[in-house]
Amino acid sequence: MRKLPLTRSLILLGLSLSCAASAQTLTVGLDADPPRLDPALSTALVDRQVMNQIFDKLVDLDADLKVIPALAASWKVTNGGLTYTFKLRSGVKFSDGTPLDAAAVKYGLDRNRTLEGSARKNEMTSIKEVKVVDAQTVQLTLSQPYGPLLAVLTDRAGMIVSPTAAKKAGADFQNNPVGSGPFTFVSRVRQDNITLNANKTYWGGAPKIDKLVYRPFPDGDVRYANLLSGAVQAITPIDPKDISKLEQNAKFNVLNYPGIGFQGVWFNVTRAPFNNKNLRQAVAATIDREAIAKSIFYGTVTPAAGPFPPGTAAASSAIKVQKPDIAAAKKKLGGKPLSFTLLTTPGSVTTQLAQVYQAMFAQAGITAKIEQVEFGTLLDRADKQDYDALMLGWSGRPDPDGNIYDFFVTNGTNNQAGYSNKTVDSLLAKARAQNAMSARVATYNIALSTIISDTPYTWVYFQRNLVASVKGMTGLKPIPDGILRFKDVDLK
């Protein structure tokens, strides 16, 4: 670990022993304290960083976002996409020693889709029944074909909990999570740390490090300072302003790879002024996406043309990033003044971004007033459609469906605009029911061209995953979902 305190004066003597003993401990700095370590109850993105080490999923993702085997060694999709049959790996055990067999998988999936307060219900709603065929085979029957299912099972919905532990702990399972993953949960102190130990009997081989500790540092400067001082060996995310400093520092590595989410601006189409399509288009036309990527994010984001980031299945080169066109924006306004309120959350980046938008809108004579409310209030106002325009993005899902369906289907859970278009509804439903990805991608892109022209939302940029680590840390694969998988990571 760190050498620095070891060499120092007497007061630090007590330290040296504890440091030497934990030579294979990897400490990771996150930007928030993961609230709930239960695959059914989790809603925060950051939960997944920790849960991915504790729980195995039925299937996983590789660096190209292809679905690869995990607990399921193989699978078959039959009956026109209505039946999914998974063959499980044999001999897998949970860290409490109980067997991970078909019955356990059924329990886990059923728990995720039915537990009271589960946040997985929406994405698992197409599953009608989970059936145990034999000890190593599980069959999922769907009520209607649902193309994104496998991708959904690479995330929290596909995480399998130990039935014995879950039944015993009840509502407290999130504080004592037990799975079959490469690490096992040891302890957590809220706002301080979550400690995991290597699972020495992991079916995929024991991890190279002995201990994995997560610590939350909400402030980017503090996170950065802790990396520099050696208190942690890796951090994610990095504040864009610190990237170049870290890249020039010989002691650290920076991983900067594409993500799967997007950021942009919602327009409330249910009331004036933005029930007028021309005004939405006018505002969208003033935004200089390239300039934003450069000036606010130091090039650590990619200008966005739609919901599908480059490198994901549905990204299409036919849909181009919109260039700012002030003349066109003025024409759309038709000589009438436009003023509205732009709702956003506090925070240095969102504040800066809102001010840059404001300046860009002003070039076309559009007046935007910035109103900052914290996140809970923003979601509340979005639900009630009590806003003109608001800045809100999405962390992204590996399957294209997760980046478009609920955002633009009538009454979708993420449809903050109140947008409703019958053509779009039927295209999005059609894509879900198609099984071949190429067919689905084509359908999504037809729907997308209508959505872009209607402009209930305007995409501005795609986030990238930014990870910094000490040079001695190796073996971290850049998977676009942003989750750091530590099974093969080594520390020298």
Binding site: L4, P5, R8, S9, I11, L12, L13, G14, L15, S18, D33, P35, R36, L41, T43, A44, E116, G117, S118, A119, K121, N122, E123, A171, D172, Q174, N175, V189, R190, Q191, D192, R215, P216, F217, P218, D219, D221, V222, A225, N226, L228, S229, G230, A231, V373, E374, F375, G376, T377, L379, D380, R381, D383, L392, W394, D406, T413, N414
Partner: protein
């Protein structure tokens, strides 16, 4: 004195009750629904309704408040809406951390402010006083977050003497515990020392102008004796009051400092709870802080008698 103490303790109960009502009302007035914050961006309306019911958020405000109060008198503050853990347990985990940090910070503050305040008063309007005044004013105006980051930069990154963050309990490893708390305690201590130095300077300056001090000098007492035996004792009362206020403030949780040094104390617990509208945690923390502040001011009141024998309690 005992009667006075008992009366003070009893009279605090209505105050604390009012505090809980105000906090309860304030949290309820905040926009943002806990169920929505727990379930996040993609929540369906059915899931939201279900969760609100299971959290008891669909009951009337009065019902919610009374059931909380009934638990609180038995020291049961309910369970966190976020992770179902017991609020009393969370408080028991965080309170010692904040308590230790506050006492450590106030110790540093005393070590600085007592000599600095006395020196400033005794040598008032000399260059010593001016330098100390300048330092005190800088200390007051230096924001915690800046001083904290500065200390981390200097001692954790440049010199690499002290880890930048973290916490180990005093029982587990006393040496490491004190080392880790040193920078946050200094950060808090400097700000409070600056304030206390100014208090002590002004009250001691005033006392030094009193007739009885002149008499003491005239009796031929040494300057040191005049200051420590006669002047300082009388000058300490406003200083003690300010000290109590500072300590009380710290016990409520040094939010920013705890954030910078990643100390898992009261302040961070409270901030996280506010952002997730975790009402039981907010209520529990605020009540315990209010009790702590009350206890500190109570002890300060009692200490007046020790400092100034003319003060008697009835």
């Amino acid at each position: 004195m005992v009667v006075f103490a008992l009366r003070r303790l009893l009279s605090s109960i209505p105050t604390l009750l009012i505090v809980t009502v105000i906090v309860f009302a304030l949290v309820k007035l905040l926009p943002g629904d806990p169920a929505r914050l727990i379930l996040g961006q993609e929540a369906t309306p059915q899931a939201l309704a279900e969760l609100r019911r299971s959290l008891g958020l669909d009951r009337s405000l009065l019902q919610q408040y009374l059931s909380w109060l009934a638990g609180a008198v038995r020291l049961d503050f309910g369970t966190s809406l976020t992770d179902n853990s017991s609020v009393s347990k969370l408080i028991a985990q965080k309170l010692p951390v904040t308590l230790e940090l506050s006492l450590f910070a106030m110790l540093i503050s005393l070590l600085i402010s007592l000599p600095a305040g006395i020196l400033s008063a005794v040598r008032r309007n000399t260059w010593v006083d001016r330098v100390l005044t300048l330092l005190a004013l800088s200390g007051i105006s230096l924001p915690n977050f800046f001083l904290g980051i500065l200390l981390i930069y200097l001692f954790s990154i440049r010199l690499a003497w002290i880890p930048a963050s973290g916490y180990t309990s005093l029982l587990e490893n006393p040496g490491r515990n004190l080392l880790l708390l040193l920078l946050p305690a200094v950060t808090l201590g400097i700000g409070s020392a600056a304030v206390l130095t100014r208090y002590l300077r002004s009250s001691l300056s005033e006392t030094l102008n009193q007739d009885y001090v002149r008499t003491a000098h005239a009796k031929g007492l040494m300057a040191r004796q005049v200051i420590s035996k006669h002047a300082l004792k009388n000058a300490l009362i406003p200083f003690l009051t300010a000290f109590g206020l500072q300590l009380g403030g710290l016990l409520g949780g040094a939010v920013i400092t705890e954030q910078i040094f990643s100390i898992p104390g009261f302040g961070r617990l409270l901030v996280d709870a506010v952002f997730t509208r975790d009402l039981p945690v907010i209520q529990g923390v605020v009540l315990v802080s209010a009790v702590a502040v009350f206890l500190v001011s109570f002890l300060v009141d009692l200490s007046y008698a020790a400092v100034d024998p003319r003060i008697r309690y009835h």
